[in-house]
């Protein structure tokens, strides 16, 4: 027993070493990055996405984290940056994250204009040694303007497919409201998403399903995507994102005599326009809105005036999972909507891809593993969404998400059609 103190010391040392080793293993983290508008007038978009992303990362860690290539588990960590709905800032954040962090993949940004510019600094074709653009995989949650992901093979989106959604919406309106024949509308022309979706998608889809522009034919408008879009804009009554006086536009809407008004704008001006329409006693039989306005902001700002407005959306709390995410978003100080809810799905997609391709958590492998994740994202055929299965459009990096049509009723968005 003379050497028992030594044995005890050795035992303590061994235990401490083992504990330290296991702690070190437990401390292994896999980093991802998110960015969106956390300042500026569209800050709520970033706040919502960050709140949902935070909840999703917490859920991943509650489930044990990310399973690494060697079978061990690593915690998932994320940083959320402010890109302020500004192209330069989004590019700066992307460059910083790609070059100065160990983040393996990014989620963001908020605005389509910022996304289009930011995607432009990424390497266009994977493996092109002559292209020194950023080689960092992005899975966008919010920027929704049609066709952005094909700018680079490193950029992917999990955003709704608006051409498909509005096509189905107008088909549904034609079937369920056969007495409605004519349309008139307007958009905020300084917002890429509102403007592009209105002039290239919504009006064309309406035309395809037999609806007529109430002020006569628009030259070049055939129903084909983007057909006659410049004439669509010049024939409409438009406004800007910061406008406060909508009297001229609302009168044009009222005097158009159209059965259906199309208001393609974000919540602030959607509310301004709806209030002015009500003031001028404009009484359309139906109002169709932009996907981005199917949010809590419209209900906070002008629930009474929005009553009856119909919008297609890829998120509504209609499944237990969606309800849970909506509750978690609120708990984290945000709201789950069609944009922010995608952040949850994206984190889960990233977890799945990381575990499939086998990341290691080794900082020296970051660039290689970014490429592996990119390849993994590209190979996905479908993913699990909060309201149903999401089909990946593999050659475009885009998604075909399930959707519903919601209608503003008594201060809430109520599902009026569920084609899932």
């Amino acid at each position: 027993m003379s050497n028992s103190p030594l044995k005890a010391l050795a035992l303590v040392a061994a235990t401490a070493l083992a504990f330290a080793s296991s702690s070190a293993l437990a401390e292994t983290t896999i980093n991802i990055a998110g960015w969106g508008a956390k300042s500026g007038p569209l800050r709520s978009f970033g706040v919502n996405s960050e709140a949902v992303m935070k909840a999703a990362v917490a859920r991943v860690n509650e489930m044990g984290g990310i399973k690494l290539k060697n079978g061990s588990k690593a915690k998932l960590a994320f940083d959320y940056h402010d890109s302020a709905c500004n192209a330069e800032q989004a590019i700066a954040v992307a460059r910083k994250v790609a070059s100065e962090s160990n983040a393996l993949v990014g989620i963001g940004p908020t605005c389509s204009g910022a996304a289009a510019a930011m995607f432009g600094v990424f390497q266009k074709k994977v493996g092109d040694s002559g292209d020194t653009g950023l080689q960092f995989p992005i899975l966008t949650d919010t920027a929704v303007r049609n066709g952005l992901a094909k700018i680079s093979q490193w950029t992917f989106r999990n955003t709704p497919n608006e051409p498909d959604m509005y096509d189905k919406l107008w088909a549904w309106v034609a079937k369920n409201h056969p007495n409605l024949k004519t349309i008139y509308g307007g958009t905020e022309t300084d917002q890429g998403h509102s403007n592009g979706t209105y002039s290239k998608v919504i009006v064309q889809a309406a035309t395809r399903h037999g609806f007529k522009w109430s002020k006569g034919n628009i030259e070049g408008l055939t129903g084909k995507l983007a057909s006659g879009f410049k004439n669509v804009l010049s024939s409409s009554s438009n406004w800007l994102q910061a406008d406060t006086n909508f009297s001229v536009q609302a009168r044009a809407f009222r005097r158009s005599g159209a059965d259906i008004f199309i208001i393609s704008s974000h919540p602030f001006t959607t509310c301004g326009m709806l209030k002015e329409l009500k003031r001028q006693r404009a009484t359309p039989k139906l109002i169709i809105g932009l996907t981005s306005s199917s949010s809590a902001e419209v209900m906070k700002g002008c629930a009474a005036e929005a009553e009856g407005m119909i919008i297609p959306t890829s998120f509504a709390p209609i499944t237990p999972a969606a309800q849970e995410v909506a509750a978690l978003a609120n708990k984290n100080g945000g709201d789950a909507d069609l944009h922010s809810a995608a952040a949850w799905e994206n984190v889960m997609i990233i977890k799945q891809v990381m575990e499939t391709v086998g990341v290691t958590g080794d900082p020296s492998m970051v660039q290689k593993e970014r490429r592996m994740i990119r390849d993994g994202l590209e190979s996905l055929k479908s993913t699990n969404g909060l309201i149903g299965k999401v089909t990946r459009v593999q050659d475009e990096g885009e998604a075909l998400k399930p959707y519903v049509f919601v209608q503003a009723k008594a201060g809430n968005w109520v599902v009026v059609h569920d084609p899932r």
């Binding site: 706040v47 022309t189 006086n245 009297s247 209030k275 902001e297």
Partner: protein
């Protein structure tokens, strides 16, 4: 596009009435410029900040809506005083650039505070007279804008009375026209200027509440357009001219609507700025501005 006379006249009516908000803001810019010959770029932002405080008060304490129109202007008056202290009081009198840049900083500071506190989301503001719309034949008049136009004339009268019929007004004019001489005569220049900032702030807070009530929504998006329009009105009316600010406010409101009707939203502001440019070239003192000799 074809427009009939109804479109044109109704656009003019709406524009003139909405221009009353610009007129009120122009009045505040004018008061401050008249007193100090310096521009307070944070003026519209402090007006909107006041409206936010008014809205927060009625929301948090569940008090009658009308109190927003009392608390808001008072809060804007306090913000005005803070802006005076931080951006004007301690700046060298002859350095025109320093307070200008400081007040631009204050503008963005206030804007960011609002964005931070509201997450940038638009917030519903109680609409004034929501159902008041007076059709006259083919035309219509918004009751809330009629009220704002009426209020702006009343406030203009009050300001003119205070400037020309009270000791405070006399001191303000003296400090404005001969700051050193007025100081030698025992007029407390800083107290006079701070009073003007508070008064202008109260006026702006009222304008901010009225503007928010006219739109029905409060948003940080309001600050920059109102700042720009307020400045245009002040310059076109004639720097320092009260009646100029009122007339130019109505004029810019009307022209803005006509440009929107005839040229569309993308060209509207081009023509508004063109009008400003023309005034600066052809009539740099504005509609009613006069050059004032200073020490």
């Amino acid at each position: 596009m074809n427009f009939d006379h109804i479109d044109v006249v109704q656009s003019l009516i709406d524009g003139v009435l909405f221009g009353s908000v610009y007129a009120l803001l122009g009045l505040g810019f004018t008061l401050i410029f008249g007193a100090m010959h310096k521009l307070n770029m944070a003026y519209a932002a402090s007006s909107i900040a006041g409206a936010y405080v008014g809205l927060a008060t009625i929301t948090i304490f569940a008090v009658p809506t009308v109190l927003a129109f009392v608390v808001g202007p008072l809060a804007a008056g306090v913000v005005g005083l803070l802006i005076y202290i931080s951006c004007f009081q301690f700046m060298p009198r002859n350095n025109l650039l320093a307070p200008l840049m400081a007040s631009i900083g204050a503008l963005f500071f206030i804007d960011e505070v609002i964005i931070d506190q509201t997450a940038g989301s638009p917030i519903t503001f109680p609409v004034l007279l929501p159902d008041a719309y007076f059709p006259v034949g083919e035309y219509g008049f918004r009751g809330d804008l009629l009220f704002i136009a009426f209020a702006s004339f009343i406030l203009m009268g009050v300001i003119v009375f205070m400037l020309y019929r009270t000791k405070m007004g006399l001191a303000t004019r003296a400090a404005s026209q001969q700051p050193v001489a007025s100081l030698l005569c025992g007029i407390p220049t800083h107290r006079t200027n701070s009073t003007v900032f508070i008064l202008a702030g109260v006026l702006g807070g009222f304008a901010g509440c009225l503007a928010a009530a006219a739109v029905g929504v409060l948003s940080p998006l309001l600050t920059l357009p109102l700042t720009v329009k307020g400045l245009i009105v002040t310059v076109i009316g004639g720097l320092g001219s009260i009646r100029g600010a009122i007339v130019a406010g109505f004029m810019i409101g009307a022209l803005e609507n006509l440009f929107l009707l005839f040229r569309g939203v993308n060209e509207r502001d081009i023509y508004v700025f063109l009008v400003l440019f023309l005034f600066l070239v052809v009539r740099p003192n504005g509609l009613f501005g006069t050059s004032i000799d200073r020490d």
